[in-house]
Subunit: 292 residues, 2 copies
């Protein structure tokens, strides 16, 4: 049974990991690249890397991003040169960005490069960046427009979010639309809808979404605040369901079912460890099969 | 008193360090760039960096190259991707190559970039790469022609040296000829004449050379073998003096004076620690003054 998963970074990577253990090469993870940035002259795709590292079993479990056993020697030396140090790039992680940057300069496509790298790391599931051409998520704030990472990391998500928009040509990368067409189920990971899922240029109609909101709070990141600032509503899975529209089903935390007008699976959706990931993945797949 | 020093990597960096402590901003070190390479998409200038790190007090004293406290996480991750791992790039060191590569792509000159970096590291003496444009030292061997680092590092200097030649336009970088013209003394560091000093496009006439050969052996590297293979002679300071020609003086290890037809200072020239560097630098400067 082929499955396509739309995913952002940490939450997306965790569900992807659970699904990957069950589905192997039958899973295609379509990953947001709106968070991508150029830094220190390197082409960086944070969400793609978080998914790739997590599926490879190389991710730092505590931090949720980056590689386990990471060091930050290059960053320290960058400080000596007076270079920007607001974006945390680990030493091992640099290898990924160096390989990608060189391959892009040599004329390869982001999707090809990603495929080569995930295979080198022994990842059986396919990881597809949503687009080959650069897309940049821009956060409009009262202090002006900020590229996503500048808003999130450099400014620690402090400026109020007036609007989210995307710059660049959002053409799906080769394989994205095919993977969705071939999939028995399209699943939306518990990622931020505005900045992780909306940038992905595919329809979410008929998808099964796992809520990124639990008991009114975001599992991770600034999503709860963004819902208040962008929609003027209290954060809830119902707001997420309404945002996506035309879902086939929604997976939420027990007690969070209120106001959702599509079939709901209420279970425990916070993934603290690998067992949580595998269990939630199984439950989501069973729920999807039951809706068919 | 202004002094110009022609230098390669490790031996050059050690004498440069001793001279720098005495002369500060009156010292200009003109550094070989024939060893430069592109690796992992990065512009790497090993000799310039060895001199810069050593003068900044950041060098790894035991290894002689690279930064103290270095880690090799990026290299390990590169191996996972199946990338070339024959050239040892440390994580802290990567910062230097990233800053340089980005600045070169942004249109800056290697000499400007080096000047900015050495200042950021608190180095008072000037460090001038010999050329702004790429120069590549090529080693002709019975197995074909090899770029210098491929011969030295990848092949561990195994193939016999038939000839050494230089590719690229060897135009002195801005400031190189001026620094030599303004200097009271031109000193040649105890570096390999064929691959560290010969690439530098300046005249060595009137210079004072410190011997890289001690008791028939090279202090470091494959020089002794190269003298045998290129000249068919036994390695000695006299061979070095003859190679440069028109020297004003030569500094050699005690007992190594034979056959040199210019004024000689015989002393202890192996620099094991910082005191050795400072003492040898003082003796070389006193010797130079005495010859004026």
């Amino acid at each position: 049974m082929k499955v396509a998963l739309l995913a952002g970074g940490v939450g997306g990577a965790r569900l992807a990991h659970g699904l990957s253990r069950i589905l192997g090469s039958d899973l295609t993870v379509i990953v947001n690249t709106g968070d991508d940035l150029e830094h220190w002259g390197l082409a960086i795709s944070p969400d793609v890397d978080t998914v790739m590292y997590t599926l490879a079993g190389l991710g730092d479990a505590a931090r949720g991003w980056g590689l386990a056993g990471e060091t930050f020697g290059a960053l320290e030396q960058m400080r000596r040169y007076g270079e920007a140090d607001w974006f945390n790039l680990g030493d091992r992680d640099l290898a990924t960005h160096l390989v990608r940057t060189k391959a892009l300069r040599d004329g390869h496509k982001l999707s090809e490069i990603t495929d080569r790298m995930r295979k080198a790391l022994g990842v059986r599931s396919r990881i597809l960046p949503m687009c080959d051409e650069p897309v940049r998520t821009i956060i409009d704030t009262p202090e002006g427009s900020l590229p996503f990472q500048e808003w999130l990391v450099r400014r620690r998500a402090a400026p109020r979010v007036n609007a989210v928009r995307f710059e660049g040509s959002r053409v799906p990368a080769p394989g994205v639309l095919e993977a969705i067409a071939e999939a028995a189920h399209l699943i939306i990971a518990p990622s931020n809808p505005y900045v992780s899922i909306d940038p992905i240029p595919v329809s979410t109609a008929g998808a099964i979404a796992v809520s990124p909101i639990v008991k009114g709070e975001a599992v991770k990141g600034p999503l709860a605040r963004m819902i208040v600032e962008l929609r003027g509503e209290a954060p809830s899975p119902a707001v997420i369901a309404k945002h996506y529209g035309k879902l086939r089903g929604m997976v939420v935390e027990r007690g969070d079912e209120a106001g959702i007008d599509v079939p709901v699976l209420a279970t425990s959706i916070v993934m603290k460890d690998e067992e949580d990931r595998a269990r939630l993945a199984r439950e989501v797949l069973d729920f999807a099969r039951g809706l068919s």
